[in-house]
Structure formats: structure tokens, C-alpha cells
Amino acid sequence: MENVTMQEQLVYDRPESMASVQTHYCPGCTHGVAHRLVAEVIDEMGIKDNTIGVASVGCSVFAYNYFDFDFVQAPHGRAPAMATGIKRVLPQRFVMTYQGDGDLASIGMGEIVAAAARGENITVIFLNNANYGMTGGQMAPTTLPGQKTSSSPGGRDVEVAGFPIRTAEMLATLDGAGYVVRRSMHDPKNVRMAKKAIRLAFETQKNGLGFSLVELLSTCPTNWGMTPVQALKWVEDAMVPYYPIGDYKVNPALKELKF
């Protein structure tokens, strides 16, 4: 005889790969979402003991506190170089950098392009929040035209400060790039898509398919002067049109993968 009872099932819990500490991020900052997604993917792939993260300089400088696996912390912009050093001597490990847009697309442009061109088998989680969060909201290479920041008080004037860089599109032109996509974290659907992309990025690395990067549109409610919920809306309304969500380079072998 069959017995049907209602049983409570766990739908979601904090991933193991996140350390049991509070973050220092501002309330509602989607750095936290990105952290969580990375941790979930690492849990699912079971590679926590096998992963080395490289934190960069920016609000995520303390990322090493929040993940429960080995971490190092790189000089501003140089995370891809440090990651390269690690990956070259430990090719069997998973190596990830976690970088902001000032870090990656301004001071660290040389290193990220070189790593991508080399097809360096690392995974880059790239948070694009359209400003320099940690130092108080200055203009980043990703700041939108007209966007006011503490170093573009009149709004970014493209005649003077130039145009925002679409990093994913640019890096996708490099032959060494195995997986380069842009995702956003402004609503549940996009968060889910972001997680899948992070998974694919790590799968790219696992399968030795070259450089992988997920650009994540992120918020900075504090420096944007918005509530967290307003900030998510601004991502959707202002950032997504300029930074289209999409796959810019996907190694065909990835499409065959089962996991």
C-alpha cells in the first residue's frame, strides 16, 4: 500500500563554498549575488578543494574572506597575471579571477587581453557596475555616456572622456577566448542565466577549451545613489541596452558538453 505524506524538501540553502561570514558589501549590492552564484557552481561541480581564486582590488578585494577555498589577492588589474602564474604551475587546479570593471577594463586591460589571447585556461568573473565602487564612485571605462560620477560630475562627456568599453565583445575577437558572454543579475531570470554562464565558464576551463569570462552587469546602489531595487531597474533600463546580454564567443565544443 502506498502512503502519501507531505514532506518538507530543501529548495535552497547557502552554498557550502561560501564561508560563514558576513560580507562587507553595501546592502543590495549584487557583488553578493555573483559570489553566491560562483559558490553554487563550485559546489555543484564539486571542485571546492581544487579551486584557487584570485581577488582583485575593488569592493571585492576581500572576496577571499567569503569563499571557502584557497584564495590570493592581486594588485589592481593584475589578477589575470597572477592567475596565469598559478595555473601554469598547477594546471590541474581551477583558477578563477574575480574583478571589477575598473580593475579589469581600465588599469588591467593589458593583462586581461594578454590572458585571453594566450587562451589562458582560467575563468574570469567580471563585474561591470559602471563605476569604481570602492574608491567612492568615480568614472570607470564602463560608465555610460552622461552618467554622473564623482569624477565626471557633469556626466560622462564622451567628447572628453571617451566611450564605454564593451569588454566582452572586444575580448571575443581573440582566438584564445573559449567562452566570453555577458549576463545580468537584475531579475530572477537573468540571475539564473548568469549562473548557467558561470557554470559553462568553469566547464570551459575543465575541458581545457581556453579562456573563459562572464561579464556580469551589477549594481552599486551606494554610489549610484539609489535603493537596491531602483538600482536593479537602472541596470535593466540603462545598462542592458548599452551592454547587450549575449554570447560573444562560445567554443563549439561547449555545445556538445553534457553535465
Partner: protein
């Protein structure tokens, strides 16, 4: 003559502004003055504080380990600074955010329910002014009028409508005069 005042609390409690106001007032009185914050957006969260030094001579250190007076706007600030106030100095405590007694007996202590008073006045943001008023009443350094003038001179025009409320906040705080120290 040299007096050092530390104002400490959570970020957002108006700690830095209260210190600047004091600084302006002292400067306008022709005194030497320095103001220095615990700084940096890189230091997210946690507490904020600033040190104001007022003197009639060239100021050496802009920071001190033993201030003449402290305004502690919350418990962590009280914990941190209670022991540091100079003997015979002044400690102004925001009773609304502190649930313990002050232990020191060798200093003047003014315990002010500043949040409650500010809320009574209709604006939570007045908390710092209430405490500043209490400080001025307990530390012989500047007349309240000097601070009021500084407010007028340095508060952006668009906030001038708040001047009366600021003034009242200081007055209310100024009623919390501590008894002279026993020891």
C-alpha cells in the same frame, strides 16, 4: 589653550558634519583649528569619527590619544573612547543608543537622550546637534552663538530653513549640564 574633541558614532549619524561645524565656529573666532576624520570609502561599514583640535597656538598633532572631550553617539564609540578622555575632561553620551552606565568618575559626563529629543523636535537628523549643544554647555570652548553663526555661514542656503530647529536642538542639548567632578 588647546582643546581636543572627538565625535564618534555610526556613519550617517552626522558625526563628520558636527565636527566641521565646531571647526568653522572656532576658525571664525580666530582660533587655530584642525579637523580630521577616520576616512575613506574603502572603509565601508562600521564606525566613523573625527577629531577636532582647537587652540590659540600652532597646532601640532591633529589627532590625540587623550582628548579633552568626546561625544559618543553609540555604544561602540563609548566603549572605545570612555577610557581615553583626559582626566577632568568631558564625555557626552547619546543615551538613546547606549544601554550602559558610564564608569569614569574623574570626568564630567553628560548623558543625553539625543535621539528622543531629536525625534521630539521632528527630525532625527538633529541628534548630532543636540549632542553638540550638550558639549558646548559642558566644555568652555566656544559660545553657542559661534556655532549658530557657523551654521548660518556654512550650511548651504537651501537648508537654511532648518536653522531654527538646529538652534533649538543645541539649546535642548545645552540643558544637560554635568555636575562638576567630585574628585
Amino acid at each position: 589653550m588647546q582643546k581636543e574633541i572627538i565625535i564618534a558614532g555610526f556613519g550617517g549619524q552626522g558625526v563628520l558634519f558636527a565636527g566641521q561645524l565646531l571647526t568653522y565656529a572656532a576658525m571664525d573666532q580666530g582660533l587655530q583649528v584642525t579637523w580630521i576624520p577616520s576616512y575613506g570609502p574603502e572603509m565601508r561599514g562600521g564606525t566613523a569619527n573625527c577629531t577636532v583640535v582647537i587652540s590659540d597656538d600652532e597646532i601640532g598633532s591633529p589627532m590625540v590619544s587623550r582628548p579633552t572631550a568626546v561625544i559618543a553617539m553609540n555604544l561602540p564609540s563609548l566603549d572605545k573612547y570612555e577610557d581615553k578622555v583626559k582626566d577632568g575632561g568631558v564625555l557626552v553620551v547619546n543615551q538613546s543608543m547606549v544601554d550602559r552606565e558610564v564608569k569614569r568618575t574623574d570626568i564630567k559626563v553628560a548623558t543625553v537622550p539625543a535621539n528622543s529629543i531629536a525625534e521630539e523636535l521632528g527630525d532625527k537628523r538633529m541628534t548630532n546637534m543636540v549632542l553638540l549643544g550638550a558639549l558646548l554647555a559642558n566644555l568652555d570652548i566656544l559660545p553657542v552663538e559661534a556655532v549658530e553663526k557657523a551654521l548660518r555661514d556654512h550650511l548651504p542656503e537651501r537648508h537654511h530653513k532648518l536653522l531654527p530647529m538646529n538652534k533649538e536642538a543645541m539649546q535642548r542639548g545645552g540643558t544637560y549640564v554635568a555636575a562638576a567632578i567630585s574628585a
